[in-house]
Symmetry: C2
Subunit: 273 residues, 2 copies
């Protein structure tokens, strides 16, 4: 790791802890990214990686949640569903998705859980001046990422979200849940046809390999305002390359991660009162 | 804290954790001091402060010891005695003192505990080229610090240690324990008289206030090679001022802390095999 021995961590007895919990853990970027964002706000906070072994997850959680100087937890694979019962209060998106990736300790000592995987998309778009408010979205994929993004789009004021998944019952179940949680947004299922939509979001893994091509036969991208893709790659996916060629605004998986980190820091260190 | 927002901690998913556990915890210096020493060896390690509440100490210990990326624990007030039962293997000094301040995870997953409070004195002396090997020591104070220092002196090869404490039975009990553990060193109790000794160590709290004067009426310091004082103060205690005036080599509480940090880092990251 660059500069490891020259740039010293500033950590002391008063440092407040956040922990990202996963199995494995060595691959996560959150400790550095989130710590930098917390420090940039002048806070003596640090995000530490925590490798919780599956057979010791509950023991790890009870130990961590009991510490007097730990203010929040982040969850990555495979613990996003297992973490749900540790929340005293489960916010809307976490409840709809059935999984959380963040737990925050409140002033009264209770823990509030929510799922931020989808808010990275809307925050990432907002960071570049794009807003889904009032727009019609075609969302490809009703899995974990798709579920979280569907909630985030509805929460951000999208007029409608059409969900397509090759597993049609899965898409219908998600549409029903999001409709119930966010009645002001019209959520339905449909074919992967872009016509009539302003925004296209890919929440499937298709596009990780260059040979994958487009995630579905969505028709021409002309006239589409925004195209987002959850895939995290250094170079644009085939979908995003096509979108850029057509003049659409785009958001990739890296921009989503940045947006999500900002949302999580806001959640952890919300101005109180 | 200086540079808090400009000097970024380098921490990522692969960072290995050590934790210093105490109640309270905000005052400890170890996270910064030990992290700097570990980083200086090119290791991606960090020492985090952990505030374990007394009613949740066991829960905290079980959670921390179960983590896959935590390699060691350090204990401060009030947990040095409570930590003993968590050691699968208790090394000599920890056993004699009846308290530990370090637990290290071994390659086989077991935990080895030991007490380093006294080794800071001998390591601090070694750092400045002083060695107690073959010397006769007068040790004032048979409490926690005195117990750990008596073991460290014997371990470092002192010829003899004479222990003085106003609580004579306490001094006798300590002398017996250290004699048993380190039979090559002659440990006995005696009055606080320097005559015939090469080294004087104060392990009592006397000297924290300038008005305290000397910790005991030890007689003239002339001819004494080394005078050590456990008291941590920015300026020399009355004892150390007197010793410096007489040309003795001296070691203060700050130098002991530095020495102890080096000993602990050596213990945590001993070259294996």
């Amino acid at each position: 790791m660059q500069n490891q021995s020259t740039s010293m961590p500033i950590i002391d007895g008063a440092t407040r802890l956040f922990a990202i919990v996963g199995h494995p853990i060595a691959q996560v970027r959150s400790p550095r990214v989130l710590t930098e964002k917390l420090r940039a706000r002048g806070l003596n906070d640090i995000v530490i990686p925590v490798h919780a072994l599956p057979e010791k997850f509950d023991e790890a959680m009870r130990g961590l949640m009991g510490l007097g100087n730990l203010d929040g937890l982040i969850f990555t694979v495979p613990y996003k569903v297992q973490a749900v019962p540790y929340a005293d209060t489960l916010l809307t998106t976490g409840r709809q998705v059935g999984a959380i990736n963040v737990l925050r300790r409140e002033d009264d000592g209770t823990w509030t859980g929510d799922m931020f995987d989808g808010r990275g998309m809307t925050r990432g778009l907002a960071n570049q001046g794009d807003n889904v408010r009032g727009l019609s979205v075609l969302l490809l994929g009703a899995g974990g990422a798709g579920s979280a993004i569907a909630c985030a789009l509805a929460e951000a004021g999208a007029k409608s979200v059409t969900i397509y998944d090759i597993d049609a019952p899965k898409a219908r179940a998600l549409a029903a849940r999001v409709n119930e949680a966010f009645p002001q947004c019209k959520v339905e299922t449909g074919g992967p046809r872009l016509a009539g939509h302003d925004v296209l979001i890919n929440a499937t893994p298709i596009g990780m390999k260059d040979s994958d091509g487009l995630p579905a036969d969505v028709g021409p991208l002309d006239g589409v305002k925004i195209v987002g893709d959850v895939i995290v790659l250094a170079k644009p996916t085939p979908l995003l390359r096509e979108a850029q060629a057509r003049g659409c605004h785009t958001m990739d998986g890296i921009g989503m991660h940045t947006g999500q980190a900002e949302e999580i820091v806001d959640f952890f260190r919300a101005r109180k009162g």
